[in-house]
Each structure stands twice: as structure tokens, then as C-alpha cells.
């Protein structure tokens, strides 16, 4: 993967939730995710990695799939937080992973509610080192 992306990895964060607060903190000078060559982008076509976090309903799922399809290959997916890895906190009957397993292939799960900024950076670096 490092050979493909070389010095730059673009991340797109979808959804809303408390995990976004911690992902947001990684952009600051304390954690400074950009020193690993990682940027946050808004346009799906520019993104290499899709970060799924937070709460979703049916409309949100539809939007997420649109974003995923718009992303250019090769593409990777990181799922951050408990609501994605397990059942949603706000709706106990909602299981994101089971609903989306046919459509989206998740490469990395980051546990925690919300995961710490260090955990998120570690997950991205593991993805880089894995050399998919």
C-alpha cells in the first residue's frame, strides 16, 4: 500500500458522532496526523480511505454507499467506534456491520467509545504497514 500511495494518504470521514471529536483532535498540533502524510479531504474522488464512524439511519446508509462507490480504486475502509463494530448505542436493533457486509468491505476496526486519537492514528499506520 505504501508503494501505491507513496507520501500521501487522503482520508474521508463520513457520519456524525462522538468519534468525530477524537478524529478531529488528531489534526491538531498535539497528535499531528499530517506528519505521517495523512490528509483529510471532502471529495470522495480524492479519497483513498473511507472512515466510517457514528450513527446511521437508512438515509445515512444510502449516502455512505454513494460515497463509497464514488471513491476511486484502490480504496480502503476503517470503521471507528463501538456503534459500527457492534450494535448502535442509540438503537439496539441496528447492526451496521451485518447490514453493510455485502456492500462494504471493512479493512480495519478501531475499538473504543470513542477511540482515543492515538488509537485512530495507530490504525491508519497499521493500514499503511499492512501493505494491502
Amino acid at each position: 500500500m505504501r508503494s501505491l500511495v507513496k507520501n500521501n494518504l487522503n482520508l474521508l470521514v463520513a457520519g456524525f458522532g462522538c468519534c468525530k471529536q477524537e478524529i478531529f483532535a488528531t489534526t491538531g498540533p498535539t497528535y499531528d496526523i499530517s506528519r505521517f502524510g495523512i490528509n483529510f479531504v471532502c471529495v470522495p474522488e480524492d479519497a483513498d480511505v473511507l472512515v466510517i464512524q457514528g450513527f446511521y439511519n437508512e438515509e445515512g446508509e444510502k449516502r455512505l454507499l454513494e460515497i463509497y462507490e464514488m471513491m476511486r480504486k484502490p480504496k480502503w475502509v476503517i470503521a471507528a467506534g463501538k456503534c459500527i463494530a457492534d450494535k448502535s448505542l442509540m438503537d439496539k436493533n441496528y447492526d451496521f456491520t451485518r447490514r453493510m457486509e455485502k456492500n462494504i468491505n471493512i479493512d480495519m476496526y478501531v475499538p473504543g467509545c470513542p477511540p482515543r486519537p492515538e488509537a485512530f492514528i495507530f490504525a491508519v499506520l497499521r493500514l499503511l504497514e499492512a501493505g494491502y
Partner: protein, 504 residues
Amino acid sequence: MAKELYNGIYSSHKAVFIDRIEKNLEFYFKGQALEVKKIGQELLCTIRLTDLGDVCTELNRNPEFEINILNSINLYKSRDKYCLLVDLSSVTNNFSMLLKAVMPVGQDSGQQQLIQLYESSVSVLKKVFEAAEFFSERKNLEESNSDIIIYPQQLDGLDCFDLYLSTDDDIISKAFIDTGISRVSSSGTHNNSVLPDVLSYISRYDHSAGIFPELCICTSYEELMQLKVPKRVQYIRMLMSELYRVSSHLYFIIRMSKILGSELVYNLALLERERTLRLIEFITGSRINPNFIRIGGVKRDLNAEQIKAVQETIAILYRKIHRIETLLLDNSIISRKLKNTGPVDKNTALLCGVTGPNLRACGIRYDIRKNRNLMMYKDVSFIIALGKYGDCLDRVLLRFREMYQSIKIVDQVINDLPEEHIKKLINLSDIGIPFTEIISSVECPHGVFKIFMEIKDDAILNFIVMSPSKNSIYLAEKILPGTRVEDTELILASLDINSGEIMS
């Protein structure tokens, strides 16, 4: 005498004041009010649905009540009956009350009839309080009529709604905000769950300041049980609330500086937010969702090391926040851009039912920390910051001033922290609480956060969150027409809309 006052949750003069309003309610609505109940510092008035219009008009016009804010309307099912719950507040008389009306709908009647009845009662409310419109089913601007559609953006905090704009050249003529994407919490999520379960994940309702929903739940139980909370506990709660307020306001500054393109302020504010969050983590063990408040106490006591850390941090925080303010607002380009952008006058703010810093920026003095004597705020000296014009500059300035006041409170709290034993073990299942309704409200960084619950023993039968961000969204819709398209993001960010609060 002083010791007795300290032991109580709220001061005696406020209880007398609420009693007077309760008596007035019973007097004016003799035939209409079925039941008037005082729950803590809130009032719950049960009426018939047919009397809703008359009661609201009287509450609005009578100078004894002078209710001028409608905060929210909710529909819920209580013991096989559908009820309408209207949250009202009075800025001039400093009190808030809930109106409850039982819907005359049977078990067998369909969902269609219920919706029709709800819509008709909202239209009755709309004649008195304009903000009721937001809680009805509104017509979206059709995609053909709206020139610009803004979908949730990434990492700027405006991630929980779609914005439809109809423009005339570069001036917005109509705006519509659709919050459909953020409705993730089903209505019965917390129903029939026990308190420890709810308490552990209630902080997700406020992403930037997680302690306030917890505080709201615990104070409501304490008021119900008339529990005497130790002074040290109240002080620790105040300390945590103010630290979270600073953190939330810094998050607001970060978002604003990102939109304004001030890279230096963005980085400095993130650094200070991290400092605050680390201090919070040192005390509670968690950064975003603390799970720290318990009924009658807190999870952990402060030790000498933590007190020292607080003292050291707030001295640095004050200096650094002052520096951030200078860097942001002494820049003439930024202050000129903020000045006169998205001004809100007093009447519009009251019509939309906003509370908190957005209301205070318009020059209205309404802060339930001081007005209602929450926790031990009467012990500390602080000023309620007020704005004048209600534009973006006022909203930013007000948040800076609130941060200084919060730091001042933290300083006083940490210096006067009493030595006391704080452990109090309360098992709700032993007490055997009969079926009751409880209400509680706190002043969170976005406004007045209120929770209504129906409980029995340790189970929560109904759970309704009444959050201030919904009113801020309605205010945004009102003030966006007439402004330029390029200012849209700035105005929306300056209203500090929290995605967690509009989930339900």
C-alpha cells in the same frame, strides 16, 4: 443557618417563588388545569387538549406568567395513552413549565388519526408561539426550486443536516434545513431500561460536553428524593461542568477559525482544548464521555494531585485563551467579516425559542445557573456575559467571556473546596419509587438542556430529551434569508449546533 442552606440543593427563596407561580396557575386555570405539580424547580400542568389554545394564550399574555419561549413539543406514549408535552419558558419571570395534554385517541385508532390530531394541536400552538412550526411536518423546498443544496461536510461540525437554499443572485431568499439524516435514535430506545444503563450512555446526547446530560438525570432523582448532596460533591460537579464548558466553547472557536481561515488560531485552540481534555481525563478517566456523576455523589473524589493539576492548568488556560482572543479578533479582516453578519434581534431569538449563549448574545439575561441557583452557583461570584447586537462577532465574543467566567468559577471552586466525606451508596431498587414524572434542566454550553422521565422503582418507562440545538436550527432558517451565500457556513457555525442533541 448557613450550614442548613449549604446542605439543601436549592435555596429557599426560589422554592417560594415556584410555589407562588403554582398557586397562580391553580387560580387562573381553575376549570382548565386538571393537575398542577411542582417537580423540583419545574412545573408540570396537565390540561385537556381542547383547552390548549386558551391556556397558551393566557400564559403568554398574563403578566404573572409572561411565557415567551416555546422550547419543544413532544409526543409520547404513557401507560397506553398518547400525551403531548409542550416545553415553555419565561425569560422575564425566570421559570419554565411543561404542559401535558392527553390525546383523546383510543388504542384501536390508527397512526393516521394520531398524526392528524398532533398536527392540529401544533397549528393551535402556532398561533401563539411561532416556534411550534418547527415541530410540525414542514414542506421541504423542492429540489427544482432550491439552487444550492449543501450536504453534510466533513470535519467542520456541520454534519447532521442538509441545507436547501433558494437564491436570488448571491442573496439567499429561502432556506430550509432537513434533519432527516440525524434522526437515528428510535423513540423507544431508552424505554423500560434501568437507570445505570441509561446513565452510562446518556453523555452521547451531547458530543462536545458529555457531563451535562448525566448531571441532568442525577439532579432530577435527587430532587425527587429530596436528597441532601454534600457540598464537596456540588463543588466537584461545578468544577467539571465549567471545564467541559471551556472545552465546548474552545471547540466552537476551532470551528469558527477553520471557516475564517485562521490557521494559527485553529492550531492554538486545538492545543488548549487538548489541555482541557487531558485535565478532564485525569479527573474522570475519560475525555468525551465521562460517566462521572452518580445520584447523590460523583464517581471519584478529587485527590491532592488532581487539585494541583487543575490549579496549574487554569492559570495557563486563562493566558492562552486571552492570547487566542487577541490573535483572532484583533485581526481587522476577521472582525470586519464577523461584524454585522447574521444579526439576530431580541424578538426573533425569543420567537424561535433559543436559549443559552445565542440568546444572551442578543442582550437577554437568561442563565439558569444564576436565575435558578443550580448546584452551588450562589456561592461563587461570576458575571453573566451579555452581547448587544446578536451578530457573529457578539456570539464569538460572548463565548470568550463565558470561558473567562468559567475559569474564574473553577478558580474559586478549587480554592474553597471543602473537606468532606462524599461516599453515599444509594440503591434505587431498595427505595421503591412509585410511578412518577421527573423533570430536570441544566445550563449546557448550547442552552438549556432538559430531560423528562417517567419512572418506577429503578426502571425508566419514558425518556424524553429536550435539547436547545433544535431551536438554534429554526433560528438559522429564520436569519439566513437576506444574507449572502458565502456567509452561510459562518452563520451556521456561529450558532453552535450540536449534532448529538438533534438525534432524537
